[in-house]
C-alpha cells in the first residue's frame, strides 16, 4: 500500500463503491437508485454529490435496521421499490448494494424476481449491481454499474452503424463536450452513461424531480448491434468492462482508449472516430490549432511546474500525460484505488519529461492516502496539485495551489462545469495550471529576491545594533498586542497611576469615575505605585498571556514622572519579563528619555497631531512647561520641538516608537501625511491614525467627525511611508485584557447593583420544561421540574428537581402510572403552583386538593412564572 502507515488510511484519497454506482445510474434516462443497506449510506452520498453538483440528488435507501440485518432485508427492499415507483414513477430502478447487504448475504436478484412476481404489471426495469463498499472504490463502482446495465438489459442484436461510447466519470460539461464532438463528426453513436443533463440541470419554471436526460433503455438495447465500442478507460478490469462483455456476448469489436485529455489522447480518439467513418470538421481542426498555440504560449511557465496529480486511475493517467506534453513535471502520480497497472503505464512517460529539466526524483503511487501524498509532495517540492477538493487540506499545509477538476469539489462552485477533455477542455485545464504557476512567480519573486540579496547585504553591513537587545525588542514587539496585527492573542494592562496632564487638548476631558466609558483619559480610580503592583500581581494570576504593562494616563505618564518611575521599578523587581510600554504627549520627553531607556521601557507612544505650529495652535488650548502656561503658537512650538527631539532620541536608542495622530475635521485632516513623513524620518516604527472621540464638555464636542472610510483612506495613503496600525481600540487608561476583550470591569470596585427587594411575598413554582427555556412539557411527562421563585416582578431560578429522586424506594414505582403521578406530586409539594404545557384532569384535581395552583400555558418560563405570581 502506498501509505505512510500500513494498517491505517490517513485522509482517504478515495470513496466507496456505492458512490460510483449512484453516479453511473444517474446517467440513465428516468432512473432512480435505491441503496440496499442502512440509511446513512444514502444520506452521505447525497450530501457529497449535492455539494459538488449543486443539484438536488435523490437517492433512496432500504433503511435496513437491526431486524433487517438479522432476518434479511427482503421486505424492506420490496417496499422501497414500491415506494420509489409511487413517488417518482421511474423507468429504471437501480439497486446497488452496500457493505451491509453484501455481508449479510442478500440475494438481490431473487428479491427482484419476487417483486416482479408480486407485481406482474410493473413496467419498471430494475437493474442491480453488487457494490460492497469494501470491494473497491467509486471508480470500480461506476463501471460495475455500467457492466450490470449492459448485462441486464434485453438486447436487440440487429446490426447498426452506431458506435458505442463507454465513458468514465466525467463532469456534465465534459459529457456535453464529448457529445458535441461526436455529433460534429457526423457519427451515429450510443453514449453510456450520459451525465450531460441530469447532474447539471437548467432552471425551469416547473421543477422535475426525475430528470429528462440520460441514456434511454431503448438505446442501451441497441448496443449489442453496434459496429464498434470505444471504452474511454484504460484501467478498469475486464470483469467490470462493458466493452468486454459486448464483445464476448455479441461480438462487438472494441478498443479501450484513454480519457481524451491532452493532445495525444484527444487525437487518438478522433483518429479512431475517423476510422469508424467520422469526419474532422474545420472547426475541430481550428480548436486543435488553438490548443497547440496555447501550449506554446505557456510552455515556459509550465516548465517550472512540479505537479502532484491524484484521483481515479483514468483521470491520473490522462492528466499526467497532459502535464508531460506541456512540460509540467508530474513528480507525483497518485491514486487511492488499487491499480498496479498505473506504474508501468506512466513510468517512462514521466521519466522522459523529468529528464528534460534534470529532475531526478518522481513517484507513482497506487492504493495511497493523502497523508502519503502530502509527505511525498513536500519531499519532491510540488508547486501545484491537480485533483479533487479533498486535496485542499494537504495543499493548504504545503502552501501550494490546487486545481480542482475532479469529483468531489466541496469548497468551490462549478464542479458540474469542470472541463478537461477534448482540445477545448485540455486548453482550459492547461490555462488553469499555467496561471497557478504564473501566479506563484508573480506573487513571490519580489520578496524572494529581496530576502536573498537585499537582506543579506544589510546583515553583512556595518550599522548594526547589539544582537541581544535587537532580539529582545523584536520579541517584545511580537508579543505586544498594539504592535502585532490583530493582536488578539496577547493581553496588556494599563495602570492608571498618572492623573495629571501638562497640556490641554481641545478634544479631551479627563474623568476618573466612568466605568462604562471606554476611551483614553478615562479610569475608575487612580492607583499609587504600590497599589499598582498589587493589582498587577492579581491580574497576572487571572489573565493569561499578559505580556505588557502600559502607562497611559489618565493624564500624561511623564507629567507624573515620579509615580511612573516608581511603578515601573516595583513591577520590574517582581517580574523581570514583562514588557513596559508608555504613552505620552511628548512634552517632557527630552528630559526623561534616557531614564526611560534605563528603566527598560521598550515601547513608547507619542501623540503628535501636527508638525506645523499654526495647526498645533488650533489643537492645544495651553501647554504648562517649566512653571509657565503657554498658549497659541508659542505653546504649539514648545510642544512640537520637544516631541520631535524626544522621538529622535528614543528611536536612536532602540526604543520602538508608535506615533498616534488624531484626525480632526477641518484642522489637520489634510496635514496627516506630512506628520507621518516627518515621524518616519525620525525613526518611528508604526503610525496609528485615529478617529476623534467626541467628548461632552470638550472644546471640540460638536466637531463633525471624519468618517471611518476617510480614516482608512488616509491610512492607506500613509502606509506607503510608514506601517499603519489598523486595530486600535482607543483603550481606557485602566484597560486590562486583549484589545478585543477588555476585562477591566472585573477588577474594579463594585457598583452597588444589588438585587431588587421583593415587593410581594415570594412564592415557589414548579415548571415542566423540556427545552429549559419554555413551558413546553406535559405535566405527566415531566421527569424534571425547574423550580422558580417569584414575587410577581422578577423570576428567579432556584434549582432543578429530578422526579425519580423523590422515589420512596420501590423499584417498580416508575412502571406504575399511579405511582409516577404520586412521585411528581411529592416533587412539587412545597410549591404554590405548577406550570405545564398540558395537564390531565386527575392530576389537576390532586394538585388543587393540595392547594397547588395549576397553570397550563406555552410561554417563556420567566414570563409565565411572573404572570402566575402576580395573579
Amino acid at each position: 500500500m502506498g501509505a505512510n502507515l500500513v494498517n491505517l488510511n490517513v485522509n482517504p484519497c478515495k470513496m466507496c463503491m456505492p458512490m460510483g454506482a449512484v453516479s453511473a445510474f444517474y446517467g440513465l434516462k428516468g432512473c432512480m437508485t435505491i441503496l440496499h443497506g442502512s440509511q446513512g449510506c444514502a444520506t452521505y452520498i447525497r450530501r457529497h454529490m449535492a455539494t459538488h453538483y449543486n443539484e438536488p440528488v435523490d437517492v433512496a435507501s432500504s433503511s435496513l435496521t437491526e431486524e433487517g440485518t438479522v432476518f434479511g432485508g427482503e421486505t424492506n427492499l420490496i417496499r422501497g421499490i414500491e415506494n420509489l415507483i409511487s413517488l417518482y414513477s421511474p423507468e429504471i430502478i437501480g439497486v446497488a448494494t452496500t457493505c451491509l447487504a453484501e455481508t449479510i448475504g442478500e440475494d438481490v436478484g431473487a428479491i427482484i424476481r419476487k417483486f416482479y412476481d408480486a407485481h406482474p404489471d410493473a413496467k419498471v426495469k430494475i437493474i442491480n449491481a453488487s457494490s460492497a463498499g469494501y470491494a473497491g472504490t467509486q471508480y470500480e463502482g461506476f463501471f460495475r454499474v455500467l457492466r450490470a446495465v449492459v448485462e441486464q438489459t434485453p438486447m436487440d442484436t440487429n446490426p447498426s452503424q452506431s458506435v458505442n461510447i463507454i465513458a468514465p466519470m466525467l463532469s456534465p460539461a465534459d459529457f456535453r463536450q464529448l457529445k458535441k464532438l461526436l455529433e460534429s463528426m457526423g457519427l451515429s453513436y450510443i453514449l453510456l452513461p450520459d451525465l450531460s443533463e441530469n447532474l447539471d440541470g437548467i432552471h425551469e419554471k416547473h421543477y422535475k424531480r426525475i430528470k429528462s436526460g440520460g441514456t434511454p433503455l431503448g438505446e442501451i438495447a441497441r448496443m449489442a448491434g453496434a459496429k464498434y465500442t470505444i471504452e474511454l478507460s484504460r484501467f478498469i478490469s475486464e470483469d467490470d468492462s462493458p466493452a468486454q462483455y459486448l464483445n464476448e456476448q455479441f461480438g462487438v469489436p472494441f478498443e479501450r482508449l484513454a480519457m481524451p485529455a491532452g493532445i495525444r489522447d484527444t487525437d487518438a480518439l478522433i483518429e479512431k472516430l475517423v476510422e469508424l467513418g467520422g469526419r474532422k470538421t474545420p472547426e475541430l481542426m481550428r480548436e486543435r490549432g488553438r490548443y497547440i498555440d496555447a501550449m506554446i504560449d505557456s510552455h515556459k511557465y509550465c516548465a517550472l511546474g512540479r505537479a502532484a496529480v491524484f484521483g481515479e486511475p483514468d483521470f491520473v493517467y490522462s492528466v499526467i500525460r497532459l502535464c508531460c506534453e506541456n512540460g509540467v513535471i508530474p513528480v507525483l502520480a497518485a491514486t487511492g484505488s488499487v491499480c498496479p497497472a498505473l506504474r508501468p503505464a506512466l513510468e517512462e512517460e514521466i521519466r522522459k519529461c523529468a529528464d528534460r529539466q534534470l529532475v531526478e526524483k518522481t513517484v507513482i503511487l497506487d492504493d495511497c492516502d493523502f497523508d502519503m501524498i502530502e509527505s511525498v509532495s513536500r519531499e519532491l517540492g510540488v508547486n501545484v496539485m491537480i485533483g479533487s477538493s479533498d486535496g485542499r487540506r494537504a495543499a493548504h499545509r504545503l502552501g501550494v495551489d490546487l486545481v480542482r477538476c475532479a469529483f468531489p469539489i466541496h469548497d468551490r462552485v462549478g464542479g458540474q462545469r469542470v472541463r478537461m477533455i477534448g482540445y477545448g477542455g485540455s486548453l482550459n485545464l492547461l490555462d488553469q495550471i499555467a496561471n497557478i504557476l504564473l501566479g506563484n512567480q508573480e506573487e513571490r519573486f519580489r520578496g524572494e529576491i529581496y530576502d536573498s540579496f537585499f537582506e543579506t547585504a544589510r546583515h553583512t553591513g556595518q550599522a548594526k545594533k547589539p544582537e541581544g537587545t535587537l532580539q529582545t525588542i523584536a520579541q517584545r514587539t511580537a508579543s505586544h498586542p498594539c504592535y502585532t496585527c490583530g493582536g488578539g492573542k496577547y493581553a496588556r494592562m494599563h495602570l492608571p497611576v498618572a492623573p495629571k496632564c501638562n497640556i490641554q487638548c481641545n478634544y479631551c476631558v479627563r474623568k476618573y469615575d466612568c466605568p462604562n466609558e471606554s476611551r483614553p483619559g478615562v479610569t475608575t480610580q487612580v492607583l499609587t505605585p504600590e497599589e499598582a503592583l498589587e493589582k498587577y500581581k492579581l491580574v497576572k494570576k487571572q489573565v493569561e498571556n499578559l505580556t505588557v504593562i502600559g502607562i497611559a494616563g489618565p493624564g500624561d505618564a511623564l507629567a507624573n514622572f515620579e509615580q511612573t518611575r516608581d511603578t515601573l521599578r516595583l513591577i520590574r523587581e517582581y517580574d523581570p519579563d514583562v514588557t513596559f510600554c508608555l504613552s505620552t504627549n511628548g512634552l517632557m520627553l527630552p528630559l526623561y528619555a534616557q531614564e526611560l531607556v534605563d528603566l527598560g521601557v521598550s515601547h513608547v507612544t507619542v501623540t503628535i497631531n501636527a508638525v506645523d505650529v499654526e495647526i498645533g495652535a488650533k489643537i492645544y488650548k495651553y501647554v504648562d512647561y517649566m512653571g509657565t502656561r503657554y498658549t497659541g503658537v508659542a505653546a504649539a512650538s514648545i510642544l512640537l520641538g520637544n516631541q520631535l527631539a524626544g522621538l529622535r532620541y528614543l528611536t536612536e536608542h532602540g526604543i520602538i516608537c508608535k506615533v498616534n495622530t488624531v484626525v480632526l475635521r477641518g484642522i489637520n485632516e489634510e496635514h496627516i501625511e506630512e506628520v507621518i513623513k516627518k515621524v518616519r524620518d525620525l525613526g518611528a516604527y508604526i503610525s496609528n491614525i485615529m478617529q476623534m472621540i467626541p467628548v461632552a464638555g470638550s472644546a471640540f464636542e460638536n466637531m463633525e467627525l471624519v468618517s471611518n472610510r476617510e480614516i482608512s483612506e488616509i491610512r492607506n495613503k500613509c502606509s506607503v511611508d510608514l506601517k499603519q496600525m489598523y486595530h486600535c481600540r482607543q483603550c481606557r487608561a485602566d484597560a486590562i485584557g486583549t484589545l478585543d476583550n477588555d476585562v477591566s470591569i472585573e477588577f474594579r470596585g463594585g457598583c452597588g447593583t444589588g438585587e431588587e427587594q421583593a415587593a410581594l411575598p415570594v412564592k415557589k413554582y414548579a415548571v415542566a420544561s423540556k427545552s429549559g427555556m419554555l413551558v413546553d412539557q406535559h405535566f405527566g411527562h415531566a421527569d424534571t421540574f425547574y423550580i422558580y421563585e417569584s414575587d410577581g416582578t422578577t423570576a428567579r431560578f432556584v434549582e432543578k428537581r429530578q422526579v425519580n429522586h423523590y422515589c420512596t424506594g420501590k423499584e417498580d414505582c416508575l412502571d406504575d402510572k399511579q405511582s409516577k403521578m404520586d412521585l411528581i406530586l411529592s416533587t412539587v409539594a412545597d410549591c404554590s403552583g405548577v406550570l405545564a404545557l398540558r395537564i390531565g384532569n386527575a392530576p389537576l384535581e390532586k394538585l388543587e386538593s393540595k392547594g397547588i395552583k395549576a397553570v397550563t400555558t406555552y410561554d417563556r418560563i420567566e414570563n409565565a412564572v411572573k404572570q402566575a405570581a402576580s395573579q
Partner: protein
C-alpha cells in the same frame, strides 16, 4: 390533506396540515418512527450521530474501523473550530477490504493502533465500529482494552453500527464514551465554574458563549465537545454546574453527570435575544452568584438593545415573506419559528428529521392555521409543500439547498458546515444578514 400533493400512504400519518385538521380532535402527527424504505429520508445513521458528537475533540485520534466510505464522507465535515490541536480534522480508517471481511478485522485494528502509537504518540483514541464490524463480530472492546493496557493511554470503543437505530442512539453512544473517558476523574474536587455541554463550536459559537460567561465572571471548566481536548475533558467532573445547549445530543450526558458525579444541570439556549438573555441570567442564578447576576443583567440589557436596533433596520426587507424550516431536531425548529416571528416572517412549512411528539405539539401551537408540519420529510414532500404554501426561503441542511434553488426559493444554511455563528447576540445579526443575503438577492427576479 391537500389533493394536489402526492404522498406515500405510509407517510400520511407523518404529515399534518393544520388547515385540514381542527385542534383537539385527537389527531396527532406520527413521529419517532423508523424511516420508510424507498422514501428518500434525509436522516443519517447511528455512526453519524456518535461521530458528530465526538469529532470536535481536537487532540483525539478518531479511528473509523470499517470500509473507507464511512471515513471518507465524515472527514472534516463539521465547521468545529479549534484553538489548539488540529488532529481531529484528519481522517483515520482501517479501510477494511474484502479479505478483512472474511477473516475479521481485529488484527488490522490492533496493528493500526500500534502504528499510530508509535508514530504519533496519542493520548486519546476513539475507535468507531461501523455497520460491517457489527456484522462480522470484531471484538473491538477487547482490542481497545488491550491497547489501553499495553500503552497506558485511553482507547475508547464507540460501537455504532449504522443499522442499529437512529442518529439519536449515536448521540447516546457518544455520551457513554465521554463518561467512560472521564470516569477515572469522577472524584475530582469541585471548583468554581461550569461545563458547556452540547455545543460543538461551529463557526466559533462556543467561544461566543464562553466569552459571555467570562464577561459576567463565570469561569468555564470544560466544553463538550467544541474545542475540547483530552486535558480539558478530564477536568469536567470538577465543575459546579453543567449548562446544556444542544438538548438532543447532550441531555443524556448531563443526566449521567448528575447521577454519577453530582453535577446538576440546566438547559439553556443561545438562539435569539430572549433565549440568550434568560440563559445568562439563569446560569448566574443557578450558581447563586450575585455579582455575576448583576453583570449578566447589565450586559444582556445593553446587547439586547443593540440587537433589537439592528434587527429593526432589516424589518422592511422581510415584510410579507414566508419561510420553510427543515432541520434535524425539534428544538432547533421551534427556535427558528420564533426567530422568524421576531423578524416578521411567517413559517408555513416545518419539518424535522427526528422531532419528538411534544416538539410537534408546540410547533402546532406556534404556527398559523395554514402551515404544514412534517416528520422525516422526503424531498418530494418538501417540494410539493414549499410550492403549495408559497415559501420564500428554506432553512435547512446542505442536501436541501439545491432543491430550494431549483424551485426558485432562497436558502439559509443552518447545518454543521456553516461558516457563520448563529449563537448569541452575534448570531442574531448573522442570521438576519444570512436570511437577507439570499432572500433579497436580485437573481430571483429573473427566474420566478
Amino acid at each position: 390533506m391537500s389533493g394536489s400533493v402526492r404522498i406515500l400512504e405510509e407517510r400520511k400519518t407523518s404529515i399534518l396540515d393544520k388547515a385540514m385538521c381542527c385542534n383537539g380532535n385527537g389527531k396527532e402527527i406520527g413521529c419517532e418512527k423508523q424511516s420508510v424504505s424507498g422514501a428518500v429520508s434525509q436522516r443519517a445513521c447511528v455512526y453519524c450521530g456518535a461521530r458528530v458528537v465526538l469529532n470536535p475533540i481536537t487532540d483525539a485520534y478518531h479511528i473509523v474501523h470499517g470500509p473507507i466510505g464511512c471515513a471518507s464522507y465524515t472527514w472534516d465535515i463539521r465547521g468545529s473550530l479549534s484553538s489548539g490541536a488540529e488532529i481531529y480534522r484528519n481522517s483515520y480508517s482501517t479501510d477494511l477490504r474484502e479479505s478483512d471481511i472474511i477473516f475479521g478485522g481485529e488484527k488490522k485494528l490492533a496493528a493500526a493502533i500500534d502504528e499510530l502509537v508509535e508514530k504519533e504518540n496519542p493520548k486519546l483514541i476513539f475507535v468507531y465500529a461501523t455497520c460491517i464490524v457489527g456484522v462480522i463480530g470484531d471484538d473491538i472492546e477487547a482490542v481497545c482494552r488491550l491497547a489501553e493496557e499495553k500503552y497506558g493511554i485511553r482507547v475508547i470503543p464507540v460501537k455504532a453500527p449504522g443499522f442499529s437505530g437512529t442518529k439519536s442512539l449515536g448521540y447516546k453512544i457518544a455520551c457513554n464514551a465521554i463518561m467512560r473517558l472521564i470516569a477515572p476523574n469522577r472524584e475530582l474536587p469541585k471548583g468554581k465554574g461550569v461545563n458547556i455541554l452540547g455545543d460543538f463550536n461551529l463557526a466559533g459559537e462556543m467561544w461566543i458563549i464562553k466569552s459571555y460567561l467570562e464577561r459576567i465572571g463565570i469561569p468555564v471548566v470544560s466544553t463538550v465537545t467544541g474545542d475540547a481536548s483530552f486535558e480539558s475533558l478530564m477536568r469536567m467532573p470538577s465543575a459546579q454546574l453543567n449548562i446544556v445547549q444542544c438538548a438532543g445530543s447532550s441531555t443524556y450526558l448531563a443526566n449521567q453527570l448528575e447521577e454519577q458525579m453530582g453535577i446538576p444541570y440546566i438547559k439553556v439556549s443561545f438562539f435569539g435575544v430572549e433565549d440568550t438573555t434568560s440563559s445568562l441570567v439563569r446560569i448566574a442564578q443557578a450558581l447563586g452568584d450575585q455579582q455575576a447576576l448583576s453583570k449578566a443583567l447589565a450586559f444582556t440589557a445593553e446587547e439586547s438593545e443593540k440587537a433589537k436596533a439592528f434587527l429593526k433596520t432589516y424589518l422592511p426587507k422581510f415584510e410579507g415573506k414566508k419561510a420553510a424550516v427543515y432541520v434535524g431536531g425539534g428544538f432547533k425548529a421551534i427556535s427558528l419559528i420564533r426567530q422568524f416571528r421576531e423578524m416578521g416572517i411567517e413559517t408555513v412549512v416545518v419539518g424535522t428529521q427526528t422531532g419528538q411528539k411534544e416538539d410537534y405539539e408546540i410547533i402546532e401551537q406556534l404556527v398559523s392555521d395554514d402551515t404544514v408540519i412534517l416528520d422525516d420529510a422526503n424531498p418530494a414532500e418538501l417540494e410539493e409543500f414549499m410550492l403549495e404554501k408559497g415559501a420564500d426561503i428554506l432553512v435547512g441542511g446542505v442536501k436541501e439547498r439545491p432543491l430550494a434553488y431549483k424551485l426558485g426559493i432562497a436558502f439559509c444554511d443552518h447545518n454543521h458546515e456553516r461558516k457563520h455563528a448563529l449563537a448569541g447576540f452575534e448570531g442574531i445579526r448573522n442570521f438576519t444578514r444570512e436570511v437577507n443575503l439570499s432572500l433579497n438577492s436580485p437573481v430571483w427576479e429573473f427566474c420566478r
